[in-house]
Amino acid sequence: MARARAAGTSRPTILGRLWRDRVSYLFMAPFLLLFTAFTIVPVAAAIGLSFTHFNLLEAPRFAGWANFRELFVDDDVFLIALANTFKFALFTGPLGYVLAYLMAWLISQIPKRYRLLYTLAFYVPSLTSTVVTGLLVSYFFSGDRYGFINNLLLQMGLTEEPLNFLTDKKYMLNVLIVVQLWMSMCTGFLAFIGGFTTIPPDTYEAGLVDGIRHRFQELWYITLPQMKPQLLFAAVLQVVAALAVSDLSVALFGFPSAEYAGHTILTHMSDFAFTRFEMGYAAAVAVVLFAMMFGLNKFLGNVLSAEGE
C-alpha cells in the first residue's frame, strides 16, 4: 500500500524516504542497537585506542602509528604468536572444517531415530567451557604415568618414562591442535546437519534419474552445491575459532606458557592488556587480528561463492 502511494508522488528526497519508511526502523532497532552497542562501538574504540598509549588508570595519550610500528618491527614474541596461530589455524581450520563436514554427512546417513543422539554426542564438546575441557584434557595429557596418553604409550612400550606434554616445547602446540580439532569439529557441524535437512528429497530423485551412481557423486554434485550458505557460515565460524584460540592454551599450559610455545595472537593481546597494562598496544594487536579475520572471511566468501556458480 505504502509503495502504491509512493509511486504516485514525485521523487521523494532522502529525508522524505527516511521518514516514509520510518516503521521499518522500528523493526530493525533491536538488532541495530545491540549490534552498535556490542560490535560497532567496541571495534571503533579498539581502533581508536590502538593509536594511543593507554595504561587503564590514566587518560590515553596519542601515539600515532607507534604501536603498529613496534608490533611489526620490534616485537619478536608477536612473531612467535603469529607463527603459532597460523600453524594452528592451518591445521585446525581446513582440517576441522572437512572433518566436521564428513561427520555431519555420515550422521545424516543414520536413520533419523538415532541421529539426534549422535548429533548431541558430537556437539557437546563445544558446549562445555574451555576451562572444563582444559581440565579434562590435562588428564589425558598429564605428564605423569597416569595421564591417559602416557599410560597408553607406556603400555605399548613406545616410551619408558612419561612425556611432558604440557610443559615440553616439543609437544605443546601439537597438543593444542589436537584438542582444538576435537572441540572445533562441532562449530560448523550443527550448521551442516541443518543444511542436509534443508535439501529437498526430490533433488536427489532428480539426480538419480540423471544418472548418479553412488553416494559420493550425490555428495559432490547435489549436496555440496545446495549447501552453500551453510558452508560459508561454518567456514566463518571455523576461521574465527582457529584464529581466536587463547583460553584453551591458558587452561592447558598456564600463562605465559613455557618458552611461549603455546602463545597465540590472543594470549599476546591479553599479555599486553593485563600484565603490562598497555591497552593501546593490545588494541593494536586486536586490530591486526580483526583485519586478518575480516580478510580471511572475505576471501572464503569469494572462494565459496565462485565455486558454486
Binding site: H53, L56, L57, E161, N164, T167, F255, A258, F274
Partner: protein, 1017 residues
C-alpha cells in the same frame, strides 16, 4: 587371586618379606632406611646378616600386627586387675619443667604438672598376672598453643608398637557465646575458648583405627612406664593400669532392660541441633552453613550456621558432645540427620558415648553410610534400631571419630608401601642411584641375576594388593566398585607390568616411585572421614523415621528463592557488630578485604570494637575474592568506584598502581617513621618506587627448610646448613629411594625459586640503577648453574606433592612456604615431634680476603638470603579522606591489633590459619614453639625482597624460560644436539629482559635515557 586368604605375611618366609614383618609403621617409608634389626614379638626370624645392619635403631610394628601376634601366642586380657598411681608418684623424671602440685584446677592430690614441652617421666607399676592391659589417665590440658597434647609411652625402655609414639590427648573447647550476628543478619562462628577441666581417657589409637582403647602387654611383676613429651603441656592426676574394659553387647543390655522393667517412652522426645554442640576437641569442628530446605533451622535470606562439622571433622579421635535434657526416663531411639558425601563408598565411623561411657559394645562403632546425594537420617542401629535407656535429666552424648572398619586395610596398604620402598632400596644397592641417565637411555640391567627373588617379591606385593582390593569390595554393596580399590588396582597393574620384565625396573623407577607415593596418599585419604550433622533426636522407638532430604521440587523451589534473594542483597558485605550510637562526626571508609570471609569478619569486629569508637571512623567492609582482586580494583578504579583502602593485596600490585599515578605515597603522612619500624626493612623494598612507599605489609610468607628428624637420624644424616651439604645429601637419599624437594618454578611467581641462589651467590636481579638486568654477572651465572644442577645433575623431581610425600617419608627433607608449618601442625598429627623447621640452606659468606667470613662466635657466617612475598594494604589516589585511611592502616598494622587478629583467627579457624604477621613484635606474640620462632626470626634476618622496576614482570618470565630450556634440554633430550648450556640460556634471557626494560621505560619516560626514579635497592 586364588591365594587370597592365605597370603598375609605370617606364612611368607622369604628374605624380603621377613624384615618387613616388623617394618610396618605409621609413616610408610620411615623404615626404608632400616631393615629392622630388632626382632619384634611376632617374628621369630632374624634379618640376613649385612643387610640393613648399619642401622641400629628399631622400628616398631603397627598395633594391628602386634595384636595379631599376641593372639597367635595366646596372650589374653588380664582379668580383674586395677593398679592405680598418683601423678606425682613417679619413680624418675627429667627435672626441668616438671613439678608436683597438691592442688590444681579443683583437684587435690599429688598432681604432676608437666608444663614443659620436653622431658619425660617414669612410673613403676607392678601387676599380679601377665596379660594385656589398658592404661587410663586423668589429665588436664595446661594452657599451651592450642594443639592437642601428644605423648609417647615406652614400657621397659621400648615402644611396644608404633602408635605408642604419638598418643593424643585432646583439649576441650567451648564456644565463647552464641553465634555472632552482624547488622545484616548473617551469622558467624563465635570464638572458641578452652575449658580447663580434668578428663579421664584411655590411651587410644591416634588415627582412630581401633574402636577399643589400646592394649599393652605386661608380664607379671614390675614394669617401668615412661611417658615422653612430644608437644604441649599437660598435668596428670592419676594413672591406672587395668584389665581391659569389656562393655556388654547390646543383646545383654537389652535383656537387662527387660529385667529392670524399663519401657519404651511413648510421647516424649527431644531434639538438639548439632551446631549447638556443647564441647568439642578442636575449634576447627565448628558451625557451617547449609541451604538444604530441610536443614534446621532453615536458611533464609541470611547466612545461618545450621550444621556442625563437615570436612573439618575428620581427624581420628576428635570428638564433639551435646547436652540433652531428657524429659522422661525410659527407652529411646537416637536419630541423627547427617551428610556424608566426603569419603566415597564407605561409611564414616563414630564412637558413641553417653555420659562418657559406652552404653553397649556396639556403640563403639556407629556407621554413617555414604550418600552422594546429601542428607540422610540414621537411627543408630540401622533397621532394628538400638534402644538407649536414659533417666530424666541432663545427659551428654559424645561422638568421636573412629575408623575401625578400614583400619585393617589401611594397615596392610601401609605395609605394601613399605615393601615397595624396601624393594627399590635393594635394587638401588645393585644399580647405584643414577638409573635414569639421560646420556644412556638404552642401558640394560640384568637385575634378576643379582637379585633372584625380585620377581617373587613383586608377585607377593601384587597378591597383597589383591587381598586389599578384595577386602574393599567386601565393604561395599554387591556390584559396586569402590573408587579407592581402583587406585590400588592401578598400582597393582603397574607392578604386574614390571613383574613381567623385572629387568626394566631401573628404567621405570620414576613411575614406580609415583605409585609408592600414591599408596601413601591413599592411606591418608581413607583415614579422613568427614561428617556433617544437622541434629540429634531422642524419640520413642516406634516413632516414624523423619525424612532425610527434601523432595526435588522443594529443592528447586529453594534454589529459585536463593537466586532471587541474591538480587536483593550483597553477599560480599560484612555488617556491623555493635551499634555505635551516634558518632560526633561521621566518617566512612570503604574497605575491601581480599581474604576469606572469616578474616574479614574478625577485622570488622575488631574495628567496631576498637577503631570506630576511638576515631569516629566507620568501616564498610566487603569481601573480594583474592584471585581477582587486582582486576576488580583496576575496573572499579576506572569506574570511579574504587575502595578507600584495600587489604590483602599481593605485594607486586601496589607499585603497579603507583607507577600509573594511582597510589598514595605513605611517607608523607605523620607518624610514618614509627609505622615503618614495625617491619623488617627488606619487606618495604617491593613497595617502594620512585622514592615513595605505596603500601604497608600485613602478612609475609617465605621459605623454610622442613625435615623429618626421625628419618635423618636413622640415616645418620644431619640437616644441611649449606647448599654444598644439600648436594652431598641428595645422593644418599637417592640410595634409599628418597628425594629432596625444591619448589617448582613457574613463569608468574616472581622467581622465588631462583632468588635464594642468586642472592646467596652475591647477585641481584637488576643493576644498581634498576635500568638493566643484573643477571649477566658471573655471580648470577653461578647461581643459575646451581639451580639447574639441582635437576639436571641431582635429579630432584620437578613436581611433587611435598606435603604428602613428607608425611609418607619419601621426601624427608625439602623447602617450602612456612604455611607448610601450619599444615603439618594441623593436618599431620602423626608426625608431631618428628619433624623440624629450620632456616634455608645457605652459602658461606666470603670475607673478601679469600677466606670465609665468621660471625661473633667464630662460626662461619652462612648467607641464607631468600625472597618472599607479602600481602599488603594500600590506599588510592581517589581515596577522599586520606588521613582517615592512614589512621586505619596504622591501626591495622599495629602490634596489638595484629596479635589479637592472629589469635582470634586461630580460635575460629584453627591452627591452620596461623597469621604470619609482617609486624615483627606481633609475630613473636603468637603462640609459636620457641625453637620454631627462633628459626623463623633467623631466616627473617635474611629476608631480601626484590625491588620492583618498570617492566619487572619480564624477568620472571625469561628466567623461567631459561630454566625450562636448560633443564628440559638435558632431562628430555632426544640426542646430544639439543643440549642448551645454562650460560647460553641465561644470556639469551638477559638480552630479552634488557630489551623489555628499555621498551617499558620508553613508555613511562618518553625522553629516553632519563634515569628512572628509584627502583634500585
Amino acid at each position: 587371586m586364588a591365594r587370597r586368604r592365605g597370603s598375609p605375611g605370617n606364612r611368607m618366609g622369604g628374605r624380603l618379606r621377613m624384615p618387613l614383618l616388623f617394618a610396618i609403621c605409621a609413616s610408610a617409608v620411615l623404615m626404608t632406611a632400616g631393615a629392622g634389626q630388632k626382632t619384634g614379638p611376632a617374628s621369630d626370624a632374624t634379618a640376613p646378616a649385612g643387610y640393613g645392619a648399619a642401622i641400629a635403631s628399631a622400628i616398631e610394628e603397627s598395633y594391628q600386627r602386634v595384636r595379631t601376634g599376641w593372639e597367635r601366642r595366646g596372650i589374653r586380657d588380664a582379668a580383674e586387675v586395677l593398679v592405680e598411681l598418683e601423678g606425682g608418684d613417679y619413680a624418675a623424671a627429667s627435672v626441668p619443667g616438671l613439678r608436683v602440685e597438691s592442688s590444681l584446677a579443683g583437684r587435690r592430690g599429688r598432681i604432676l604438672s608437666w608444663a614443659a614441652e620436653e622431658g619425660w617421666v617414669e612410673y613403676d607399676v607392678s601387676v599380679p598376672r601377665a596379660g594385656l592391659y589398658q592404661i587410663e589417665l586423668d589429665y588436664l590440658a595446661l594452657p599451651g598453643r592450642g594443639s592437642s597434647i601428644q605423648r609417647a609411652l615406652r614400657i621397659d625402655g621400648a615402644y611396644q608398637y608404633n602408635e605408642l609414639k604419638r598418643l593424643e590427648f585432646p583439649r576441650i573447647w567451648r564456644e565463647a557465646g552464641p553465634p555472632l550476628k552482624d547488622s545484616l543478619g548473617d551469622e558467624y562462628n563465635p570464638r572458641a575458648v578452652e575449658v580447663m577441666r580434668w578428663q579421664t581417657a584411655f590411651l587410644a589409637h591416634p588415627d582412630g583405627l581401633s574402636a577399643e582403647p589400646l592394649r599393652v602387654h605386661l608380664t607379671r611383676g614390675r614394669h617401668r612406664l615412661r611417658f615422653e613429651a612430644i608437644r604441649e603441656p599437660m598435668a596428670i592426676a592419676r594413672l591406672r593400669v587395668r584389665s581391659p574394659r569389656r562393655p556388654a553387647p547390646y543383646a545383654e543390655v537389652a535383656r537387662a532392660y527387660a529385667a529392670n522393667g524399663y519401657a519404651d517412652v511413648r510421647d516424649a522426645a527431644v531434639k538438639v541441633q548439632a551446631e549447638e554442640a556443647y564441647e568439642r576437641s578442636s575449634p576447627t569442628i565448628r558451625r557451617e552453613q547449609d541451604r538444604e530446605p530441610l536443614t534446621e533451622p532453615r536458611a533464609g535470606k541470611h547466612i545461618v550456621l545450621n550444621v556442625l562439622g563437615g570436612e573439618t571433622w575428620r581427624q581420628g579421635g576428635s570428638w564433639a558432645s551435646w547436652r540433652v535434657k531428657v524429659p522422661k526416663s525410659g527407652l529411646y531411639r537416637l536419630d541423627l540427620r547427617y551428610q556424608q558425601s566426603y569419603l566415597p563408598d564407605f561409611a564414616a565411623g563414630r564412637s558413641l558415648f553417653i555420659d562418657g561411657e559406652l552404653p553397649f559394645a556396639e556403640s563403639a562403632f556407629v556407621e554413617f553410610p555414604y550418600s552422594p546425594h546429601g542428607w540422610q537420617v540414621l537411627s543408630v542401629g540401622g533397621e532394628k534400631p538400638y534402644k538407649f535407656y536414659l533417666t530424666a535429666g541432663t545427659h551428654t552424648i559424645t561422638l568421636q571419630v573412629c575408623n575401625a572398619r578400614v583400619g585393617p586395610v589401611i594397615d596392610r596398604v601401609r605395609g605394601v608401601a613399605v615393601d615397595m620402598a624396601f624393594l627399590v632400596q635393594r635394587v638401588l644397592q645393585i644399580t647405584g642411584p643414577a638409573t635414569d641417565d639421560p646420556e644412556d637411555p638404552y642401558r640394560e640391567w640384568e637385575l634378576t641375576k643379582e637379585f633372584p627373588d625380585l620377581k617373587p617379591s613383586l608377585m607377593r606385593i601384587i597378591r597383597e594388593l589383591d587381598d586389599c582390593i578384595a577386602f574393599l569390595y567386601r565393604l561395599v554393596r554387591r556390584g559396586q566398585h569402590p573408587q579407592s580399590a581402583a587406585q590400588l588396582a592401578q598400582v597393582r597393574d603397574q607392578l604386574a607390568d614390571i613383574a613381567r620384565d623385572p629387568d626394566s625396573l631401573p628404567r621405570r623407577l620414576t613411575q614406580y616411585r609415583d605409585s609408592q607415593a600414591k599408596l601413601g596418599a591413599w592411606v591418608l585419604n581413607l583415614m579422613q572421614q568427614g561428617l556433617a550433622l544437622d541434629y540429634l533426636a531422642l524419640v520413642p522407638p516406634d516413632a516414624p523415621r523423619p525424612r532425610g532430604a527434601a523432595g526435588v521440587f522443594h529443592r528447586i523451589w529453594q534454589a529459585v528463592r536463593d537466586l532471587f534473594g541474591s538480587f536483593t542483597r550483597d553477599y560480599t558485605q560484612i555488617g556491623t557488630f555493635r551499634s555505635q550510637g551516634r558518632l560526633r562526626q561521621e566518617k566512612r571508609l570503604k574497605v575491601w578485604v581480599a581474604y576469606p570471609r572469616d578474616h574479614a569478619r574478625i577485622l570488622k569486629e575488631l574495628a567496631d570494637e576498637d577503631f570506630t569508637p576511638r576515631t569516629g571512623i566507620r568501616l564498610d567492609v566487603n569481601v573480594v575474592p583474592s584471585a581477582n582482586v587486582f582486576s576488580a580494583l583496576i575496573l572499579s578504579y576506572n569506574a570511579g568506584r574504587a575502595p578507600d583502602v584495600c587489604v590483602g593485596l599481593w605485594s607486586p600490585y601496589p607499585v603497579e598502581f603507583a607507577m600509573r599515578n594511582a597510589g598514595v605515597d605513605l611517607t608523607r603522612f605523620r607518624g610514618y617513621n614509627e609505622v615503618k619500624a614495625r617491619f623488617k626493612p627488606g619487606s618495604l623494598v617491593p613497595l617502594t618506587y620512585g622514592g615513595g612507599v605505596w603500601a604497608l605489609p600485613e602478612s609475609q610468607d617465605f621459605w623454610m627448610l622442613f625435615y623429618r628428624q626421625d628419618i635423618l637420624d636413622q640415616l645418620g644424616l644431619k640437616a644441611p646448613n649449606t647448599w654444598e651439604e644439600v648436594f652431598a645429601l641428595i645422593p644418599r637419599l637417592k640410595m634409599r629411594g628418597m628425594d629432596f624437594y625444591y619448589p617448582y618454578p613457574t613463569s608468574w611467581n616472581e622467581n622465588r625459586e631462583f632468588a635464594p641462589f642468586l642472592y646467596q651467590c652475591g647477585g641481584s636481579f637488576y643493576t644498581e640503577d634498576g635500568l638493566r638486568s643484573g643477571l649477566n654477572t658471573p655471580q648470577a651465572l653461578r647461581a643459575f648453574k646451581m639451580w639447574t644442577q639441582l635437576y639436571t645433575d641431582y635429579n630432584t623431581p620437578i613436581q611433587a606433592d611435598f606435603f604428602s610425600r613428607f608425611r609418607t617419608g619419601e621426601m624427608p627433607i625439602g623447602i617450602d612456604d612456612y604455611y607448610m608449618y601450619s599444615r603439618l601442625t594441623a593436618a599431620a598429627p602423626e608426625l608431631a615431634g618428628w619433624w623440624r623447621m629450620a632456616p634455608l640452606p645457605g652459602m658461606a659468606k666470603p670475607d673478601g680476603k679469600g677466606g670465609v667470613a665468621t660471625d661473633a662466635d667464630g662460626r662461619p657466617l652462612i648467607d641464607r638470603s631468600m625472597g618472599g612475598y607479602a600481602f599488603t594494604c594500600m590506599m588510592f589516589r581517589t581515596t577522599k579522606d586520606k588521613e582517615a585511611a592512614w589512621e586505619f592502616m596504622k591501626w591495622w598494622t599495629s602490634t596489638d591489633v595484629q596479635i589479637r587478629f592472629g589469635i582470634q583467627l586461630e580460635s575460629v579457624v584453627g591452627v591452620e590459619a596461623r597469621w604470619n604477621s609482617a609486624n615483627i613484635e606481633a609475630l613473636k606474640g603468637l603462640p609459636w614453639a620457641k625453637r620454631d620462632i627462633d628459626a623463623i626470626l633467623e631466616q627473617w634476618n635474611w629476608f631480601k625482597e626484590r625491588p620492583v622496576v618498570v617492566g619487572g614482570y619480564i624477568t620472571q618470565r625469561y628466567v623461567y624460560n631459561a630454566w625450562n630450556r636448560a633443564v628440559y634440554s638435558v632431562l628430555y633430550s632426544s640426542g646430544k644436539g639439543t643440549y642448551i648450556p645454562p650460560r647460553e640460556a641465561l644470556e639469551d634471557a638477559v638480552r630479552h629482559i634488557d630489551r623489555e626494560l628499555l621498551r617499558k621505560r620508553r613508555e613511562f619516560f618518553p625522553a629516553l635515557g632519563t634515569r628512572q626514579p628509584g627502583g634500585g635497592e
